[in-house]
């Protein structure tokens, strides 16, 4: 089992190295196949580890393995250590399983790009980083994986490095994540100081003394989780990250990265449980993010950005669940979300692919008949997103809402936010669906999909995604459509893994690692489910009247529209609060400190040395006899002094 876990971890890393070293000797397709194969190996290894773990008794499902001592400092010793327990195996399965499908999809999507090999090397590195994060056996290795995930997301978001917005987005993601990394590192320092170790079993079993210390540690960890999972107030990088290739967005949003924050909270639950206020803060942040992201999603016109905001909103649900102590519900939603969000992104990728890189929804329309497969895939994904039974999202989201009801007045407040979120989800998801797929095909769509001969004439042009246009029959190559189909099936059946109150294998499986703090009653479950479904349907109905049937016009309130299109002015506020003062300070320091003091003093020093040199040089006459006289005279003086002093 340990061997399987190591294979699962290292396989994508090996592939990344092989692709990097092989470079031109490897064909472009070969790189894609190699990356897919390596992640598939990871998935198989994860399954093997899972089956092995099933054979153990539930309370003995914890195996750690240290490869070598990685960092030794004084009395502290941190090994390259992985842990195989129900939680890490669960994450391994989700990451490698969904990751495999996404990498396979990329083979079709990225075909024709100039730098496919670099792309697949990064993808493999990304999967490796995420696996390292979820398999880490101590918090230091977890932080290493955490940082590597940030790095690979930076590389992939900025993959099209000749496009300035992509570079800016990559930098933004990196900086935002670095804030989280920093707070997390500080929390770990404090943890080392308090417990003398970072190994999970030591850290989690040892009570930490001092309420301020435990609160600070939990806050630091929460900061990291919030940054990585794009929750308010560190969320601004996520929508911009849409500048990357669509499969990258799918990977970041579905299988890796943004779910890392949820994983961290569930993994370090024993620490968070000692700081209940921080846990409530996490739930609150999640609830605020649900509503804010849902509202912003209503006015987005970029198809990928709508899905990006829906990710923020859905991660908000997971944060809410984790913050309430409903860990299995959070993990369950993480899994179903991975399915339907990957499905939505990849379906959007099919649309973008078919329309030669166009992402603006205003130019789309009427794609239902032209791309029927894509339409049904998006429909399934959207229904699941809106939490309509029997799709996966229904089971996981409603159990979170039910758990909120079991947490006093605060929980009820969160519950209301979650319910509002459900309505918004139905509204924005189907707004996107109706705009893109309903109605008559727009001129732009006709040009691209109906007049093939016309499109042929344009072949060879670089499209929006930087790769050459290529004609394909149907809705995309097999590697793309097949993976979308698999995810659609998973989205339909994935939810039946757990049915609250009746059938709870996932809760039982995770029980040894993360025992839930709340237990929703049957009534709470029923009330939440029925209300959530009704609100979701309500959202869909409103979307239908506004964007499908177009019987009512969408309400236009100028100021609200303005606020939403500026995403509540978060970017502007950060710009004003941090960027401007920093630039101002730097310019001031440059003008008043660096130029006069640093550069000035160096210039003076240079002048002084030059003058001294010129003056000493004058002593060097070149006349040998003068030197001899000088030597003789000084010797005479020395001799006289010597004699006289004695």
């Amino acid at each position: 089992m340990i061997v399987a876990a190591w294979i699962c971890l290292l396989s994508p890393l090996v592939a990344a190295f092989l692709i990097t070293l092989g470079w031109n000797r490897l064909s472009r397709r070969g790189a894609g196949y190699l990356a897919t194969l390596s992640v598939a190996v990871s998935f198989v290894a994860a399954v093997v580890a899972f089956v092995d773990l099933l054979g153990d008794k539930p309370d003995q499902r914890y195996h750690a393995s240290t490869l070598w001592s990685w960092l030794t400092a004084g009395q502290y010793d941190f090994g390259l250590r992985i842990v195989v327990d129900p939680l890490s195996v669960f994450m391994m399965l989700v990451v490698s399983g969904v990751g495999m499908l996404i990498v396979l999809y990329s083979i079709g999507y990225m075909e024709g790009d100039n730098e496919e090999r670099r792309y697949f090397a990064y993808m493999a590195l990304f999967v490796f980083s995420m696996l390292l994060l979820v398999q880490a056996g101590n918090l230091l290795i977890l932080l290493v994986g955490w940082g590597l995930v940030g790095l690979s997301s930076y590389l992939l978001i900025g993959f099209w490095h000749d496009r300035p917005p992509a570079i800016a987005a990559a930098k933004k993601a990196f900086v935002m994540n670095a804030i989280g990394d920093a707070t997390m590192a500080l929390a770990l320092f404090l943890l080392i100081q308090r417990t003398g170790s970072l190994n999970f079993e030591n850290v989690f079993t040892q009570p930490i003394h001092g309420s301020w210390a435990i609160n600070l540690i939990a806050l630091g960890l929460l900061g990291g989780a919030v940054a990585k999972s794009a929750q308010l107030p560190l969320h601004t990088w996520l929508p911009d990250a849409m500048e990357g290739p669509t499969p990258v967005s799918a990977l970041i949003h579905a299988a890796t990265m943004v779910t890392a924050g949820v994983y961290l909270i569930v993994r370090t639950a024993p620490i968070f449980e000692q700081a209940p206020k921080v846990l409530e803060l996490a739930a609150g942040l999640g609830a605020i993010t649900i509503v804010v992201a849902g509202v912003i999603a209503l006015v987005q016109v970029d198809i990928k950005r709508v899905i990006a905001y829906s990710t923020m909103s859905q991660i908000g649900y997971m944060f809410m669940a984790a913050g309430l102590g409903a860990y299995p519900n959070a993990m369950f939603h993480l899994m179903t979300h991975a399915f339907f969000k990957a499905l939505l992104f990849m379906a959007a990728g099919l649309v973008i692919h078919a329309l030669a890189g166009e992402q603006d929804m205003r130019r789309m329309g009427g794609l239902r008949r032209l791309l029927p497969f894509t339409f049904y895939a998006t429909l399934i994904g959207s229904l699941s997103l809106a939490g309509i039974p029997p799709f996966a999202g229904f089971f996981s989201k409603d159990s979170i809402l039910a758990a909120a009801l079991d947490h006093g007045w605060y929980g009820e407040l969160l519950w209301v936010a979650g319910m509002v979120g459900t309505f918004l989800t139905g509204l924005y998801a189907f707004r996107m669906l109706f705009i893109v797929f309903w109605g008559e095909p727009s001129g732009f769509v006709r040009e691209h999909l109906m007049a093939r001969s016309h499109a042929h004439a344009r072949e060879g042009h670089l499209d929006h995604d930087g790769h050459e246009q290529h004609m394909h029959s149907g809705e995309g190559p097999l590697s793309m459509t097949s993976t979308v189909a698999v995810l659609a099936v998973l989205t339909v059946i994935g939810g039946f893994l757990q049915f609250a109150g009746v059938w709870t294998p996932l809760t039982n499986w995770l029980d040894p690692v993360a025992r839930p703090l709340v237990e929703a009653s049957g009534t709470q479950e029923a009330v939440s489910s029925i209300l959530a479904v009704l609100l979701g349907l309500g959202g869909i109905a409103v979307a239908w009247f506004m964007y499908g049937a177009r019987t009512t016009a969408a309400p236009r309130v100028a100021w609200a529209q303005n606020v939403l299109e500026h995403k509540f002015y978060f970017d502007e506020a950060y710009d004003f609060a941090f960027y401007r003062p920093a630039v101002f300070l730097a310019e001031g320091l440059g003008r008043w400190v660096e130029r006069p003091l640093v550069i000035g003093s160096v210039r003076e020093l240079v002048r002084g040395v030059g003058l001294a040199g010129r003056d000493t040089g004058r002593l060097q006459t070149g006349l040998v006899r003068t030197y001899v006289l000088a030597i003789a005279a000084s010797l005479a003086v020395l001799a006289i002094v010597f004699v006289a002093v004695r």
Partner: protein, 102 residues
């Protein structure tokens, strides 16, 4: 074996040294300067050997041998330089050979 007192030897040595030093200081031909240097070295050698005999120790003699070896090599280098200067048809005058000034 009795000879003159060590003071006499030292007087001769000092006389030789001063003659050499004077030669180095006032003569302008590099050949003569080298020659005067040799005289200075020999004066020093004489003093070394005189002390060696006075204290009945071999150190001074060994040192004198070393000085001779150094003097020989120095002459080789010096004469080589002088020949090189003469070949380039430059004036053999140490006051005019002052291109190494700062």
């Amino acid at each position: 074996m009795k000879g003159p007192d060590v003071v006499w030897y030292l007087c001769v040595a000092a006389f030789l040294f001063c003659t050499g030093a004077l030669g180095v200081l006032i003569r302008r031909s590099p050949l003569i300067v080298l020659l005067s240097l040799e005289i200075m070295l020999n004066g020093a050698n004489l003093a070394l050997i005189a002390f060696s005999r006075h204290y009945a120790q071999g150190d001074g003699q060994i040192f004198a041998l070393t000085v001779m070896a150094v003097a020989a090599s120095e002459v080789v280098v010096g004469l080589g330089l002088i020949v090189a200067i003469a070949r380039r048809k430059l004036d053999l005058d140490v006051d005019k050979l002052s291109t190494l000034r700062g």
